[in-house]
């Protein structure tokens, strides 16, 4: 196990290096000149020159890359160009708001999709099954934007069940007052594709011989489905969760934008619109590192779910 972990961590290094190179050269050669962005429209050539000097833009490329790598390793990204807030502080203060919304979404989504999908899978081919399938196909075709616009209009503006948008410094108030509507919308939207996917996982397992054997032994349908099929279908489900897991960081940026939640996703969009390179670069690199760690974590989880899995 320890050897496996060390090897996996070791393998992350070239990938991370690639991410660093990609981000560096993307902004270096395709992005506009940072000095022009920072200087503003009315900057004199001297100002631009002095900004260049300050950022080290006049140095050779490899030296700039070295500065970039040093920033990553020391977690020192300096300050946002737009707000002068330190990037580390930005990350630390926006993350709780994001997690307040995304963690309930992920938990609700997975825990609702599993029973629904199992229920639909058991009645495969029936009218219910086909109706659910058609409904999910149509539901998936509607843009997320439409759901958010309508939900905000009906439940918040017309019926007044929830505040239209807002956020406070108190986590509990956020979770109980401001988060429910965004969470409900996001779960309602992602449930349809999730059910479709999990249904196919369950159908795959139900077709196996061990299910027939279990039924032949005289086990109740409930035991077969909940003990045998569910346990075996957990592997693809876990894989799917591992795909969703990095989404807890910036995946709900649209929800954040709509409901004015001061989270990472909205900050990222602001950074794009302001041309705030330090924020974008830092987010890209650290989120990539976090994503890889999540994937490793899930691989270890496989072992716990299914003892047949051998980590090597």
């Amino acid at each position: 196990m320890a050897a496996y972990l060390i090897r996996r961590l070791w393998q992350m290094i070239p990938t991370l290096l690639g991410v660093v190179l990609l981000v560096f050269f993307l902004f270096k050669y395709f992005g506009s000149d940072p000095a022009l962005i920072l200087g503003g429209l009315n900057a004199s050539p001297e100002t631009i020159e002095s900004i260049r000097e300050q950022l080290g833009l006049n140095k050779p490329v490899w030296e700039q890359l070295w500065i970039f790598v040093k920033q990553i390793v020391t977690f020192d990204w300096g300050k946002s160009w737009a707000t002068n807030e330190s990037v580390a502080n930005l990350f630390a203060t926006r993350l709780p708001a994001t997690l307040t919304v995304t963690l309930p979404i992920l938990i609700l989504e997975v825990s609702l999709a599993i029973p629904f999908a199992l229920a639909v899978a058991t009645v495969r081919g029936s009218l219910t099954d086909r109706t659910v399938m058609v409904c999910t196909t149509v539901a998936v075709s509607i843009s997320l934007l439409v759901y958010v616009i309508l939900a905000q209009y009906i439940f918040a503006f017309r019926l007044g069940w929830f505040p239209v948008q807002g956020w406070t410094g108190n986590h509990w108030t956020n979770l109980t007052t401001y988060a429910p509507l965004p969470v409900l919308v996001a779960v309602a939207v992602s449930l349809a594709p999730q059910i479709r996917l999990y249904r196919s996982f369950f159908l795959d397992e139900i077709g196996h011989d061990y299910v027939r054997t279990a039924r032949a032994k005289g086990m109740t349908e409930g035991t077969v489905l909940l003990k045998h099929v569910l346990r075996n279908a957990m592997i693809p489900i876990l894989t799917n969760v591992s795909v969703l897991l990095p989404g807890v960081l910036v995946g709900s940026f649209l929800i954040e934008v709509f409901f004015s939640i001061p989270g990472l996703g909205r900050e990222l969009l602001l950074a794009v619109n302001r041309g705030d390179y330090p924020v974008l670069q830092a987010f890209a690199i650290y989120l990539a590192a976090l994503t890889m760690s999540f994937n490793l974590f899930v691989d270890v989880l496989y072992k716990l779910v299914d003892p047949r899995v051998v980590l090597k």
């Binding site: 690639g18 993307l26 196909t137 439409v146 616009i149 910036v250 969009l269 794009v272």
Partner: protein, 350 residues
């Protein structure tokens, strides 16, 4: 033996077997839902072509109706009490003896006659309603369909090309080339996709071409992975080894022998990506990272519709949603049918 040496002589007597595509077409024809969806998609593509050649919806920017004109079915808006003072009736008071400009009125009237003014009658209702400026929502949604569907198709084609080329090289050559391309793949998939999209959006200008580039450059990874696996599988098959034995070049083996045999995978991926790219384009344009401001797409229409909703003007939202649902659903079901037809082994799994 003779038959192998003179294949043309034999095939002249036997009706040639249709091959994999004809078989797929036969299977597809039996799928009624799939065929119906294909017709719907075909109609949309015709609409896109007509819009692109400016035969329909070329005047989407014209303000042909009153602001927020309701759909024809609902009838015109009731006149609002705007609180302005009622204009006095009766003839104007004759001021010509003290009006210093009076001598020139006749001359100005003469000169004004040289110019023709068109009296534009603004319609009270439009087929699907009007937007904030009185532009026809029907024309806008057709023009928006052109942009959104074009972006989806073009980005999917480019992404499939990138994914197929890289996948072919990686799967066929393996070794150093494969490792390098795997590394590139790992790098691209390590960054959360939305972040990658934002990073590209930050450095590209706004416009249709940029959206296509952003979506294609961030969306090729899944296709690459599948094509690579197919090439690895086929590379060692007998027909490829035989081709090698008779001296077929690497290039010919990759693209003349293997590619036609895995192209159904690429085709299914292509149409799967069209749907997801259309949805992404809608979101990018909504956020202002998509098409430029003088263009209309389903995303920019939804952005306008959000503000109109609060005022009770729901028709733009309804029109966009209806168009998008019909197209995307039809395309998704068509893709399912296509996949079933091309790869019968998969039928019924989804």
């Amino acid at each position: 033996m003779n038959a192998v040496l003179t294949p043309s002589g034999v095939s002249a007597h036997k009706p040639a077997s249709g091959g994999v595509w004809a078989a797929a077409w036969r299977r597809l024809k039996t799928d009624r839902v799939g065929m119906a969806c294909m017709v719907v998609v075909g109609l949309f593509l015709v609409l896109v072509l007509l819009a692109a050649t400016r035969l329909v919806a070329s005047g989407w920017q014209k303000e042909v109706g009153v602001p927020n004109a309701p759909p024809t079915l609902l009838g015109p808006q009731p006149p609002e009490d705007t609180g302005t003072i009622v204009a006095p009736k009766g003839p104007n008071v004759d001021l010509s003896d003290i009006d210093p400009l009076a001598p020139r009125y006749a001359e100005w009237a003469q000169r004004a006659k040289a110019f023709k003014t068109d009296e534009i009658v603004k319609a009270d209702t439009l087929p699907l309603g009007g937007d904030r400026l009185g532009r026809d929502v029907l024309a806008k949604v057709v023009k928006g369909a052109e942009v959104s569907i074009f972006v989806g198709l073009a980005a999917a084609v480019v992404a499939t090309l990138i994914g197929t080329m890289l996948g072919a090289f990686s799967g066929f050559f393996g070794g150093k080339v494969g490792d390098l391309l795997e590394w590139v793949y790992n790098v691209f998939t390590a960054i959360p996709s939305i972040l990658l999209v934002f990073a590209f959006a930050a450095i590209f200008p706004r416009g249709v071409g940029a959206v296509v580039a952003i979506l294609a450059l961030t969306g090729w990874t899944g296709i690459y992975r599948l094509i690579r696996a197919e090439f690895m599988k086929h590379r060692v098959r007998e027909y490829v080894r035989s081709a090698e034995a008779i001296g077929a070049s690497q290039w010919s083996r990759m693209f003349k022998h293997i590619l036609p045999n895995v192209s159904h995978v690429a085709l299914v991926q292509l149409s799967l990506h069209v749907v997801s790219f259309i949805k992404s384009e809608v979101i990018l344009s909504y956020l202002g990272l998509g098409v430029s401001v003088d263009q209309v797409s389903w995303g920019t229409m939804l952005a306008e519709a959000q503000n109109e909703m609060i005022l009770g003007y729901w028709w733009q939202l309804a029109a966009v949603t209806a168009f998008m649902v019909v197209f995307v659903t039809a395309f998704a079901l068509f893709t399912d049918a296509l996949r079933d037809a091309l790869d019968p082994k998969l039928r019924g799994l989804e």
